[in-house]
Symmetry: C2
């Protein structure tokens, strides 16, 4: 509402900047250039870069529960900015959690340290799914405020908006907690199409609203995380999941921002992830696929037909290896990424909590300098 009010701006993927004309803008940043397939130089950031690997994060979070931190604008902004200051990465990723839209909608959810999201009343049938689906998305004012504070500090560094994909969120909602195989959710997917549609349709609505709030407040791109998509085969993903992820991203498709779609264990699903990203309308931003550590970027690019910018895919297992081993791996990732029309260096998964942050800084320097 504040930023995008003019179709010409959208068509050219420009943002109406509320800074003065002289303020730096992310529009020409290496990140956005790579996402648009017109790279101007190396770009690198790390999934979960704002998190437990940083001592300043642990200090800022001390005594504050995860969801409370996500919903405290000053704190969320500070945590989002920390890795940018420390590592000099080419993007900030909004500090949040995939269950924040659930909390905003009034779902009783908390994040248990060492375990993950726990839902007080798991959604096990169509009645429960319909009851949930009657809830409005909730007030995103605290999200908007956190993004505004962050963007004001970031200057020319772009902020990437963050949301969880419907399947992954549904896996938590149905199981009630993290699970290995998401069996209960996948049973509902096959056994109760009506409940499934009500549930995933609603999650798409609230996650989409969450993403839109971030972009309207100044985020320059979005990334949709479908952490558990890899538990699905192609047929199930295409028949029961893809359209809900597409609906989530549809919420920002008119805003002209790049849309990154990522999941783990998705070597066999990459084209389906890409095709879930809205495309083809004037003003729609580019589709980018995030790739995990299981497949080389050259092979991923070949499977995608060579037309999709990629993000990834340093194997987090190398972060604890001696530097020469890690360095060779990073160089290999960068070299394979040149096959794609654009490449943003990232990990193949989130930063492990026990990672030495100095190693991450060194990776950024290598990517920028190498």
């Amino acid at each position: 509402m504040r930023r995008f009010n003019h179709s010409e701006f959208l068509r050219h993927n420009r943002r109406v900047n509320h800074h003065t004309a002289a303020s730096p803008s992310p529009d020409n940043s290496p990140l956005l250039a790579a996402y648009h397939g017109r790279p101007v130089g190396p770009a690198v950031w790390f999934m979960r870069q704002a998190g437990r690997s940083l001592p300043e994060y642990r200090a800022a979070r001390a005594g504050t529960e995860m969801l409370e931190a996500c919903l405290t604008p000053e704190l969320a902004a500070e945590i989002t900015l920390q890795p940018v200051r420390r590592h000099g990465v080419d993007a900030a990723i909004f500090f949040s959690d995939i269950v924040v839209p659930l909390a905003l909608a009034g779902v009783d959810v908390h994040i248990e340290p060492g375990l993950g999201p726990v839902i007080a009343e798991p959604v096990r049938d169509a009645t429960a799914a319909r009851a949930l689906a009657a809830r409005a998305p909730g007030d995103a004012a605290r999200i908007t405020e956190a993004v505004r504070l962050t963007v004001a500090e970031l200057g020319a560094t772009p902020l990437i908006g963050f949301a969880g994909a419907p399947f992954t969120l549904a896996a938590y909602l149905v199981e009630g907690r993290p699970s290995r195989d998401h069996l209960a959710a996948r049973t509902m997917m096959h056994a109760d199409p009506e409940a499934w549609d009500a549930l995933l349709g609603w999650v798409a609505e609230i996650s989409g609203a969450f993403l839109r709030a971030q972009v309207m407040a100044g985020a320059s791109a979005v990334q949709l995380f479908d952490s558990w998509a890899g538990s699905l085969g192609r047929a199930d993903y295409a028949a029961h999941v893809q359209r809900y992820s597409a609906r989530t991203l549809d919420a920002v498709a008119d805003l002209g921002v790049p849309m990154v779609h990522f999941g783990t264990g998705t070597s066999d699903l990459l084209d389906l992830l890409r095709d879930a990203i809205p495309a083809g309308s004037p003003g729609t931003g580019p589709a980018v696929v995030g790739v995990d550590h299981r497949i080389g970027l050259d092979e991923a690019n070949a499977r995608l037909g060579g037309a999709t910018p990629l993000q990834g895919n340093i194997d987090p297992a190398f972060l604890a290896a001696p530097w020469p081993v890690l360095e060779a791996h990073v160089r290999d990732v960068v070299a394979r990424g040149t096959a794609a029309p654009g490449h943003v260096v990232n990990l193949g998964h989130g930063v492990p909590p026990d990672t030495d942050p100095g190693v991450l800084t060194r990776v950024v320097e290598l990517v920028h300098g190498g």
Copy 2:
């Protein structure tokens, strides 16, 4: 030592039977016929069929720890036989755990209910790996006895021997407990090739000895479980894992039994799993690939070139669905399986503990009668 003492028998995949000539033999069973690619009729069994879904299992196990149960011959035999009696499945799978060979070798390991294997002293470096590798495989007498007792009861129903693959076992040994991404193990794989080779070479030795003991005591086939192989991409699997799984199976390659190789999340690795199975020598048994729920058997067969018998792949998520939904899925699995030169119906993963055992019996009846 007791069964296979004559190369002619091996070459024809016959077993020297210590029953009287009139005793029924598994040699012409539907299971072995399908594994040999010469199916004579439907064959079905379930991974983890001997386990918590059965009330008689829970009764038999009451008060006995998992590893103690595995190492008590009469109890292991009884548990192995339970699902054969109840469901009328076409094979027994030896009741054991992938860490049993570790326990036999004197490693301090226990299985924590609700969590999984916990290793008292995780193997984090080459010194620890070498120390472990100095351990002998340990006495398999209790395994031999359990298999003998089982086979004597089974009659014409074949017993499948069971072992864990080196990567999955190494993941537990390095991490010390179950983990989502097996990061510490994968770091060692890349950072310390000497430790990795010592560790996986040793695990291949003890798992191979474990398998050989089972076949020598009467098992008619073997299955190697690489539960965590799906956390690896093709390049890592081929470079750092495949040869150790091959070494494990080499321990039984001269015994003429079918060798089934299974992992989850392996849609992209199926040919590499197959190629880890020793082949081509006279007397070597056939290679069979187990397929998880993520890929249709027709597609798996196509990826494997159409020459490999398959096992799988009912999605366990359907077991809790209404019968008509499950029935349609089972029929679809059976229909897709006809593409392969041989097909043994199974799940795509283990039986979930809360499965209604009556449903499993009904699936067996459907496969046998449909």
